[in-house]
Each structure stands twice: as structure tokens, then as C-alpha cells.
């Protein structure tokens, strides 16, 4: 499989501070890669660079062979703060429609597409609710539906389930995996939750801080479809978790020094 997203010596500084110190890695088509690391390691920044919201100081990110110069419609971004990323004055249907409008989908075809997309995330019944009338989990599903409306080649997800309660988080993880495997989506997923990273990823990349750089890269050889009970009890899962935990622990100590 070929690389869809490719980081080439990506460096980024805020003023004097080097935030990303030469990142090199790639995400293959159809692959789910999770970025983990202690806070301040630059994982969100790396995602923002990959999605074109920020430009690197040096180096480049290539997407589908072309240099990333700014946001692209075929790259959808799922933000952590779903409540702020939705338009409060539009219904669920209207929020999904925004992406279709951006893509110049003719008015007549929008309603049907909106229905399909809401159905895919299980919100069809709530099409005419406003975000303020929806739970956190529903709002995040809605944001994902809007992202899917872009028919993206890749999804960039920035701690999308970080603000949800444990039960909702697990069901959204499974729903996301289902959607991803149905669409054969490529996903770059940022999280601080090590178990989530292993559970979702084909590969987990651990970043070490100051400056952000790759400290560990693990292939996750766990069978799919994954299961909240069996996968998490798998000896391989536990081995990976231990390995990642040790890495983060040392990285944090290194950061404190």
C-alpha cells in the first residue's frame, strides 16, 4: 500500500520554541495511525500541520503525492470541542448540509445525502434537533457526519472522544471503526488515551516532547473487528499497553528534567 500522508522532516517553531523537531512518518491508504504522547509533545500541532491548518516552519507534509499548502476538502478534520465546531443556529441536518453546500452539491440532492449521512451515524431521528438539544455523544456523531459529507480521503481526528464519558466513548470507538472499515478510510487519530490508541490503531506512534519527535512506533497486530472485551484482554494488547506506558513515563520524566 502506498503512503497517503507523508511527513517529511516537519519542523515547527512558535517564536523561539521548537515545537516539532523534524517529524518523519507516513500513513498508508486505509490505515489508522494513532499519535500519542504526554501533553505538550506536539501531537495536536502535528495533526494541524497535516490537515493544512498550520504551515510547518521547515519540511513539508505531502498528501496523496502533493505538498499540503492549506486545508483540502478531501481531508476532513474532527475537532475535540464538538460543541464549538457545530453551528448552533442550524439543525443537525443543516450542519451536515453545510459541508454539502461547501462542495456545491445542488440543493435538490442535498436532502437525500443529508439523510444518508445522518443515518450512518445513527442520528436520522434527530435530523431537526439543534446541537444544544443533543448530548455530547450525539454532537460528536453529528460532527463526524459533517466530515463524512466531504467524502474525504482521510480523516484527521483530534482527541475526538476525549470529552465524552467512558461508555459513550467506547460505543463511538466501535462506530468509528465500523464506518472506517466500511469506507476503507485513512485516519490520523490524536489521543492521550493509550488504550484507545491501541484499540483503534493499526499503528501507534508515540511522540516525545521538547521538541516533539517520534519516540516509539508500534505495529498493532490485533485482529479486526476489535471487541471492547476480548481485544482489551488480549495478551498482545496488554504487552503493547505496557510498552507504551513505559515510553510515556520516561518521556514525561525527560520533559520534567
Amino acid at each position: 500500500m502506498t503512503a497517503l500522508i507523508e511527513f517529511r522532516d516537519v519542523e515547527l517553531s512558535f517564536g523561539e520554541t521548537l515545537v516539532l523537531g523534524g517529524l518523519n512518518f507516513s500513513v498508508r491508504r486505509g490505515e489508522i495511525v494513532c499519535l500519542v504522547g504526554p501533553s505538550g509533545c506536539g501531537k495536536t500541532t502535528a495533526l494541524r500541520v497535516a490537515s493544512g491548518l498550520m504551515a510547518p516552519t521547515r519540511g513539508e507534509v505531502r498528501f496523496d503525492g502533493a505538498r499540503v499548502e492549506g486545508p483540502r476538502r478531501d481531508v476532513a478534520i474532527v475537532f475535540q470541542d464538538y460543541a464549538k465546531a457545530l453551528l448552533p443556529w442550524r439543525t443537525a441536518a443543516g450542519n451536515v448540509s453545510l459541508a454539502l453546500e461547501a462542495m456545491s452539491v445542488p440543493r435538490g440532492k442535498r436532502a437525500q445525502r443529508v439523510g444518508e449521512l445522518l443515518d450512518r451515524v445513527g442520528l436520522l431521528r434527530h435530523a431537526f434537533k439543534y446541537p444544544s438539544e443533543m448530548s455530547g455523544g450525539m454532537q460528536q456523531r453529528l460532527q463526524i457526519a459533517r466530515c463524512l459529507a466531504q467524502q474525504p480521503l482521510a480523516l484527521m481526528m483530534d482527541e475526538p472522544f476525549g470529552a465524552l464519558d467512558a461508555m459513550t466513548r467506547q460505543s463511538l470507538q466501535d462506530e468509528m471503526l465500523q464506518i472506517a472499515s466500511a469506507a476503507d478510510a485513512t485516519i490520523l487519530f490524536v489521543t492521550h488515551d493509550l488504550e484507545e490508541a491501541i484499540y483503534l490503531g493499526d499503528r501507534v506512534i508515540g511522540l516525545a516532547p521538547h521538541p516533539g519527535r517520534i519516540g516509539i512506533e508500534l505495529d498493532v497486530a490485533l485482529p479486526r473487528p476489535r471487541n471492547q472485551v476480548f481485544t482489551r484482554e488480549d495478551p498482545e494488547f496488554l504487552r503493547l499497553r505496557r510498552q507504551l506506558y513505559d515510553f510515556i513515563h520516561t518521556a514525561e520524566k525527560g520533559a520534567a528534567r
Binding site: S51, P71, K84, A85, L87, P88, E101, A102, S132
Partner: protein
Amino acid sequence: MKLLQALALPAALAALAEVGARMSGPSDAVAPPSAVALALVEALGDGSLVAATRDTLLGAFGGLAIGASIGLILGLILGAAPTLDRLLEFPVEVLRPIPSVAVIPIALVALGFGYSLEIAIVSFACVWPLLILTRAAVRGVEPRLVEVARALKLTPLDRIVKIVAPAALPRIFVAFRLAAGVSLIVAVTVEIAVNPMGLGYGVMTAGQALRPDLMLAYVFWIGVVGFGLNALLVSAQQRFFGRAARSEAAR
């Protein structure tokens, strides 16, 4: 029932005023509410109050339309262009505290008596609430929404029409309500100070003619007009921005 409750205290106070005014005998400054009501009916009947109301509202609304438009446009521009805003900060902050009454002599020399005088001064007063609040509303648009617009690659026009305007509109409307209140106050002030027309002038002439009943009728009527104007705008606000205003408040 609610209406009855709201009217109970004013009615009691009016009764008290009636007794007080009658006991203290004739006066050039106050009149019993019954006489005021009579004068109000009379002024309404002979058309003088209606004409004065028309004149005042023409001045107020004319000035509101011009001033609010200028303030809105300036606010949108300054909210979107921080560099320009820094350049204009000093002139804006120097002009803004000038009381609109202080502009009357200048406008009088330039425009003479009449509608244009009143409209000019009301405009001056109405620019500021719109400018300041629109600028803040544009700046206050949730940055994440701006990023969503970028991520979706919305055209600049779509960005304004679909993201910035709906996000800022509820607060801009609040500014408009403020300016509408200001417009009536300033229009009446200009009439009392110099301009021989409208409700303010009516208050002045009635006072000078030693007709406290008519004078108070005018004052009461100004209150009624202001109350009606605000009620109209509040209901419009709830109708158009009910949901948006709620979500704004929830932030």
C-alpha cells in the same frame, strides 16, 4: 391577571398623585393625572400629538437608519481588519465620548433648523453602539467555527453569509435595540434644546404656556412611544434570533 398585577401599583400611585395634586391647589409644574389624561385625549384628538410624534419618529428613525448603517459597516470592517482598527482607535475613542448634545451648535450652523439637523445629530449618536458592539461581535465569532469554515474551504462570501453573520447577528441586533433607544432620546433632546418640532418641542411650548397638564401628557406620551418601540424590537428579536440568542447566552 399578569397585566392586572403590572398595572396595580401604577394605578395606586396615580390615585395618590391625583389626591396630592388636588389638595395642594393649582400649580404651574404639576397637574393631577386626570387633567393630564384629559389633555392627552385632547392633543390626540386635534392631531397635534400625532403630528409631533410623526416628526420626532422621522428624526429618530432617519438618524437611526443612517447612523446604525455607518456604525454597522465600520464595525464589520474594523472587526475583520485589526490593523485598520488600531489605526482608527484614537480618532474613534476621541469622537465617541463627545455628547451628542455638544454637536448641536455645529450641526445648527451647518444645517439650520429642521429634519436634517435632527437626523444628523441622531446619526452621530447611533454610530457608536453599532460600531463598538458589531466590532466585538465579529471578533467574538467562535474561532473554531472560523476554522471549520477554513477546513471546508468556504468562499469568502459564504464565510460571511453562513458563519460570521449568523454568529454575530444576535449581538448586532442587541446593539440596534440600544441604538433605537438612543435615537428617541437624542431626537427629543434636540427638539427641547433647539429644534422647533416634534414631541420635545411640544413639551417645551406646553411648559412655557403654563400648561402642566399638556406638558405632562407629552412626557407620558414619549414614554409610551419608547415603550412601544422597545416592545416591538424585543418581539422581533425573539422571533428572529430566539434560538441563536439562547445559544449565545449559554456560552
